[in-house]
Amino acid sequence: MGIEERDPVSGRKTTGHEWNGIKELDTPVPRGVLIFLIVTHVFAVICWFLLPAWPLGSTFTKGILETDQREIVEEKLVRAAAERASWMERIESATLKEIQADEQLMSIVNSTGHQLFGDNCAACHGVDGKGRANYPDLTDEDWLWGGSLDAIANTMRVGINTDHPEAQFAIMPSFGRDGILDRDQVRSAAAYVYSLSNPDYSTADNIDRIATGRNVYLSSCASCHGEDARGSQRVGAPNLTDQYWIYGGDLQTIVTSVHGGRQGHMPTWDERLTEAEIKILTLYVNSLQVEDP
């Protein structure tokens, strides 16, 4: 201890301290480290001169560039809006039909619509708009509230089952849970509905139940779904005879729908999206339809 030695590998002396066998060399700090240290400090000092940096009581040094992150963002937003203004103004002023007729605008609708749909709608309706359990397919020809451009725009604007003043309400009552129908009636009605899209189901075994179900249907369901069960876009009641289902077309799921009722929630976009964005999305949703019948 306390004796300086020379390290044979580096040729340096040790500091003379030792801790349980550990020694240290007294190598000076390499020049590269010092230069590098100076470089980083010069960088820092330059930044301090150019940018807002040091606090001074209630204010701070503004820096030669006098930049401020808030102003930068605001400028950028203005510039971005200006870049889009040329086509945005045309979309704002044109009607949906006019835009649809304009090839150049439609290509913008498609590229912009892809991102808008992805960020706002895809979480529920799927990236491709084909829906999934509990969320309807937007690419098929089966519409709850209508597939015309105006109907789609309106559904987006007011939503379904929302608190928007003009909201559309799609209320499928809970027949079983609320005791409107008894257990047997629920099963029969469901069996009837199931048989509409599955003709094979009408076997001799089931024929009675289906007949009972038909009576239940006509008295309890037809007011909304229609006598032919093809649905009604007036009350958002779906067509029950086709292969498109929101919640599912197997017998068990239909029983669940009838027993517990259904009130799907489609948010309103009135205040979240601009008028132009709603137009773009309307046309985009419509184009999903055309491309992929």
Binding site: M1, G2, D7, V9, S10, T14, T15, H17, W19, N20, G21, I22, K23, E24, L25, D26, T27, P28, V29, P30, V33, F36, L37, T40, H41, F43, A44, C47, W48, L51, P52, A53, W54, P55, F60, T61, G63, T67, D68, Q69, A80, E83, R84, W87, I108, S111, T112, H114, Q115, L116, F117, G118, D119, A122, A123, V127
Partner: protein, 547 residues
């Protein structure tokens, strides 16, 4: 353990157990239906276990005075075992959360198993459970060896270890049942925080008392780092966790800080947790186990001084780089950025000092996987500090922030640096602690090394790729000036990388399991008859009896 305590210490330990028990009863009763009462019962269980454990030993014979001529290694052994147990548990949780990001159904629709709850279980488990126990254990080892002094008493190290692990258990069980104050890396609620303050103050006092008893004229660098770690973590913990509980019967509390000041305090804490928990403490480890394993003197004492003061000074100012482009005033961001850049040189000086120390021992690095762990750790330390300083530059952060790049950076540091240095230290420490000639299997150390390295590389490269792709997708515009991609598109693009990351994590976990097995088998092997010279204080310096 309890037979190594003196009778007075056993009585005192018994008394502390009763206090812990009473504290648990209070929380359980005051908690009522609040999840707080679950924690009350856990604390009660610990109190009862402690009571019987110490009561049982009360009238057994006392340890002889001869103990004072040896180091007190029992708590270190417990710390190593606990650390490895936490490592296996928490890295498994890591692989699970990584898999959830690729396959969300793996949450199995449970509330307790949802991503938001499991993620802090993973981070707390690895940082505090694995890392914290490793730091406590090695610090007890290093401070005794480099001071040539035995720990001053037998009780405080156990109090620190048990109290600290109780804190970790309260933290982790709390997340499962939904208790969190939602501050990252500081999630545990007020009562757990108070427990940690008591434990941590005891730890610091214990460390100072040991240093004060040292037989060496100088304090070795490793101890500077360990002391900085303990002291600063105490300050950070107290300031960031100042909060007012809803009532003494509720787990929930509200922080004293508000708005952007809360964010700044949180990231001042968060960044210095990286600096003093994940860096300073592990540098202490590096400074002891590297020269011991390499059998080389430290390359430069002066470089050690430069980097120690550089790191402790600059880190303190850098926290605001976590809040670039937020409501935080611009000038604070500039300061955070510039101090982060100035921080690079002291950080690299440490990494360089470590690598230069290996000059003359590169042959050993080739042959000895343990030394290779330490060497690779120093390399990753250099890499992640360079990356960190780079990411702290505002325009770079504009690309990297909120992306997987940050996660890649974290794991370069966490797997490559923190975990590797710990394994290197453990493989050096374990045979010496348990007086074995060497590890049970050198081949398994080698297997562990390659699994860990492969896992880290797969992980980090996957996240770099994913992060940069994400960042670029979020800022790509079409010709018309609309965003080219939706957020979902970027998620779809990340999917393959998430699978790769889960695989990398799995490799790392497998390595850790191999390591735990190897350590366990070493513990079970037969001890050497004669202790190593470096494990017995010089006979002319029989330690002064503790109080």
């Amino acid at each position: 353990m309890s037979v190594t305590l003196t009778r007075n210490e056993r009585q005192f330990a018994n008394f502390i157990s009763i206090i812990i028990f009473a504290f648990g009863v209070f929380l359980a009763a005051a908690g009522g239906n609040d999840p707080l009462s679950v924690h009350g019962f856990i604390i009660i269980a610990v109190g009862i276990a402690g009571f019987f454990f110490t009561a049982d030993a009360l009238y057994k014979p006392e340890p002889t005075e001869e103990r004072l001529s040896y180091y007190y290694d029992e708590p270190i052994k417990a710390g190593v075992v606990l650390s490895m147990a936490w490592a296996v548990f928490a890295m498994f949780m890591g692989v699970w959360v990584a898999s959830q990001l690729a396959w969300p159904n793996l949450a199995f629709e449970g509330a307790w198993s949802s991503f938001g709850r499991l993620r802090p279980v993973h981070t707390t488990g690895v940082i505090f459970g694995f890392g914290g126990n490793a730091l406590i254990a090695t610090s007890f080892h290093v401070v005794q060896r480099t001071s040539r002094a035995r720990l001053p008493d037998q009780l405080s190290p156990w109090f620190v270890l048990v109290g600290y692990n109780l804190f970790c258990i309260l933290a982790v069980t709390g997340y499962f049942i939904g208790i969190t104050q939602s501050k990252e890396y500081a999630e545990p609620e007020w009562y757990a925080d108070i427990l940690l303050v008591i434990v941590w103050v005891t730890y610091f006092v214990l460390y100072l008392r040991t240093i004060a008893r040292r037989k060496e004229p100088h304090i070795y660098v490793a101890n500077w780092y360990y002391m900085a770690f303990i002291l600063v973590v105490a300050i950070l913990h107290v300031v960031n966790n100042i909060a007012i509980p809803v009532s003494l019967g509720h787990a929930k509390s509200y922080t004293a800080w508000a708005g952007v000041q809360d964010a700044m305090v949180q990231w001042w804490y968060g960044h210095n947790a990286v600096a003093f928990f994940l860096t300073a403490g592990f540098l202490g480890m590096l400074y002891y186990y590297l020269p011991v394993r390499a059998q080389r003197p430290i390359f430069s004492y002066r470089l050690s001084i430069l980097s120690f003061w550089g790191i402790t000074f600059f880190y303190m100012w850098a926290g605001s780089h976590h809040l670039h482009y937020t409501a935080l005033p611009h000038w604070v961001q500039t300061l955070g950025m510039t101090f982060s850049v100035m921080l690079l040189v002291p950080s690299w000086a440490s990494a360089g000092n470590a690598l230069m120390t290996l000059n003359g021992a590169w042959g050993r690095v080739r042959d000895d996987a343990t030394l290779r762990f330490i060497m690779i750790a120093a390399v990753f330390y250099g890499l992640s500090t360079f990356e960190g300083s780079f990411m702290a530059i505002r325009p770079v952060n504009a690309l990297s922030h909120y992306t997987d790049w940050t996660v890649g950076h974290v794991h370069g540091g966490a797997l490559g640096w923190v975990a590797m240095i710990t394994f290197g230290a453990f493989y050096t420490l374990v045979p010496s602690l348990w007086r074995r000639e060497r590890m049970y299997s050198a081949a398994l150390v080698e297997v562990h090394f390659w699994l860990a390295l492969a896992g880290t590389l797969v992980y980090v490269f996957a996240m770099w790729n994913s992060g940069i792709i994400q960042g670029l997708m979020w800022r790509t515009y079409t010709e018309e000036g609309s965003l080219a991609y939706s957020f979902l598109d970027s998620l779809v693009a990340m999917y393959p990388y998430y699978i790769a990351r889960a695989f990398g994590g799995l490799l790392f976990l497998l390595g850790t399991i191999v390591g735990a097995y190897n350590i366990w088998m070493t513990i079970k092997a037969a001890p050497l008859a004669v202790p190593r010279k470096s494990d017995v204080p010089y006979s002319d310096a029989v330690a002064v009896p503790g109080e």
